[in-house]
């Protein structure tokens, strides 16, 4: 991107008439075309994203008892309650654990699969298809099936049993529950990142490896010194997309653990749902929404900063 002009767009819509030159300079024309082109998206964002977000902010300043039908302005009471919430620490911890675990496992496995599939091997397309297939299976169906497989007497432990391993009670132990939720999500979507990595790997010039081979560098060394740096933009981008996605995980938690055991898998989105929709603390739910938005926003600003440094092939 070469644009440096960051003034608010609306100001540009009303052009000041120049006296001598023809009115429709190519610049003005571009200005108008640009706006026309982005108009559907921009209006959509305003109506379906920005406006609802402002409304949520408004709700967060109210005590909204949906059962009694009251909606009272309480100022920042909900935010004070947020600071004092005894559950918040555990919730943020679960949220962080889930995100970090998901990103590490997802990217690690995606990279491993991509490297394996990038070998000169017959039939990699078959495996690529298999690894990618869960991406196209409905999330609800996928999670329900896994929920069954992960039971103490379910399919996973049945499989483990045949090789003589006594599997744990996956969804009932505090640590295994979190691991299970992460792993189910990883298998569902790792195919996407795998494909992106595969494309990046195929873009690494073969000469670089040949040169390294001549220098006697080991495979491992080649991987760390050549492959990783060259596909780092992809690693960064996928990690950011995965982090943002990980903060929005909901159906999986609802199906597999309902936030338990204890509060070990109560991530922020799920806690928000409990407060708003189960306990009918709607104003507080809105406050948690704002917290979630702030966290995502902070991570995105970080992304934007790092993009500038990392992504070099944008002109």
């Amino acid at each position: 991107m070469t644009q440096t002009d960051t003034r608010v767009g609306s100001a540009a819509a009303g052009p000041a008439p120049g006296p001598a030159r023809p009115f429709w300079t190519s610049r003005r024309r571009d200005q108008l075309t640009g706006f026309v082109f982005i108009a559907p998206q921009l209006l959509g964002s305003a109506v379906f994203v920005i406006l609802p977000l402002i409304l949520v902010l408004w709700y967060s300043l109210h005590e909204w008892n949906v059962l009694a039908g009251t909606f009272d302005f309480v100022g920042t009471d909900n935010y004070t309650a947020l600071a004092d919430d005894p559950n918040l620490g555990a919730v943020l911890r679960a949220t962080g654990l889930f995100s970090v675990g998901l990103v590490v496992l997802n990217l690690g496995l995606a990279l491993l699969l991509a490297v394996l599939l990038n070998q000169r091997l017959r039939g990699t397309i078959v495996f690529r298809t298999l690894f990618f297939s869960p991406v196209v299976v409905s999330l609800v169906a996928w999670t329900i099936v896994w929920g069954f497989l992960l039971q103490d007497n379910g399919g996973i432990n049945g499989l483990l049993d045949t090789i003589g391993v006594d599997g744990p009670n996956w969804l009932r132990g505090e640590s295994t529950a979190m691991v299970s939720v992460i792993v189910v999500q990883v298998f569902k979507n790792v195919g996407l990142n795998m494909v992106l990595f595969l494309a990046a790997l195929q873009g690494v010039p073969a000469e670089l490896y040949e040169a390294a081979e001549v220098d006697g560098a080991s495979r491992m060394r080649q991987f760390w010194r050549i492959t990783v740096p060259l596909i780092s933009p992809t690693i960064l981008l996928t990690s950011i997309i995965t982090v943002v996605g990980s903060l929005q995980v909901f159906a999986q938690i609802a199906v597999l653990t309902q936030g338990g055991p204890g509060t070990s898998t109560t991530v922020l989105v799920y806690y928000l749902y409990q407060q708003a929709f189960q306990f009918h603390h709607f104003g507080y739910g809105a406050t948690l929404s704002i917290l979630l938005f702030v966290i995502v926003l902070a991570l995105t600003v970080l992304q934007w900063q790092m993009r500038k440094r990392w992504v070099f092939h944008e002109s």
Partner: protein, 280 residues
């Protein structure tokens, strides 16, 4: 490119790939085979890999218990409309953000990008209120309008922008010399070139709409208007116990067609995706 491998290495690699494939394939396998088993066999331990007495009762009951054919059509037509609409909106916006220089571009791009960052749980309540006031609750409009114009289309716009950025500028120069306007350049030059990216957008969007869960359960209340993921959770007995075989039959019918299409078109699918510009 990678180098040739020894026979032994190849065998090891195949072994590793096979083991790794289990968790990707087993759940789908279990889903399909369970739909053919009587309930008691679904819960058998150790699990039966193949149904001992396959039967298709459950598939029949899916259609008896829910207007499943109608629900199938609902999901299909909504996903198609959303896909076409999103392609149009995101191609236009992506092109403008990438190739046209106008004031406020960066700020507006950031504003649009915000949609990528907001979980739908956060804005679902105000969205519901808006559609309620318009009298559009329990219609398919929210499921069509919000994805095309709202947050879900932002990823598509992002993909298109990344693609258009990578197009060489000379093409447009040539078009300009030929006297083509902006829209003609977009329509006749840029858009045909963007087919791989558009393909990826189409796939993403279709899957997103096809799998949408939160929005249908919020906006729809009559069974004949339901979409598939929502219908999947409705197969229960009078005491709320799940009817496993029926549920799995319905889930299989939801997943298998998409899987078949994917396997047939997987080359275009995966390669289209690889060229999204998401690679950084």
């Amino acid at each position: 490119m990678s180098r040739d491998l020894s026979r032994r290495t190849k065998l090891v690699l195949y072994g590793v790939l096979l083991v790794l494939a289990i968790p990707f394939v087993f759940p789908t396998w279990w889903m399909v085979t369970s739909s053919l088993k009587p309930v008691a066999d679904i819960f058998a331990f150790p699990p039966q890999l193949l149904p001992t007495n396959p039967r298709f009762d459950a598939y029949q009951r899916v259609f008896e218990l829910q207007p499943f054919g109608q629900q199938y059509l609902n999901s299909l037509y909504i996903a198609l409309v959303v896909t076409v609409g999103t392609m149009a909106v995101s191609a236009l916006a992506g092109y403008a953000f990438a190739r046209i220089r106008f004031r406020g571009q960066n700020v507006l791009f950031l504003v649009v990008l915000a949609g990528l960052l907001i979980p739908s749980e956060v804005t679902i309540v105000p969205l519901f209120q808006m559609f309620f006031k318009l009298g559009l609750v329990n219609t398919h409009w929210p499921l069509i309008l919000v994805p095309i114009f709202g947050a879900p289309s932002v990823l598509a716009t992002f993909i298109m922008r990344q693609f258009f950025i990578s197009l060489p500028g000379e093409l447009e120069e040539a078009a300009r010399v030929d006297g083509l306007g902006r829209f003609a350049t977009f329509w006749r030059i840029a858009l045909p070139l963007s087919r791989p990216a558009l393909g990826a957008v189409a796939i993403f969007t279709f899957l997103h709409s096809w799998n949408l869960y939160l929005e249908p359960i919020v906006f729809l209340s009559s069974p004949e208007k339901f979409t598939l993921p929502q219908a999947l959770t409705q197969f229960v007995d009078a005491y709320g116990g799940p009817m496993w075989d029926v549920q799995m039959a319905a889930a299989s019918m939801t997943a298998l067609p998409v899987l078949v299409v994917f396997v047939i078109a997987q080359k275009q699918f995966v390669e289209g995706l690889a060229h999204t510009g998401l690679k950084g």
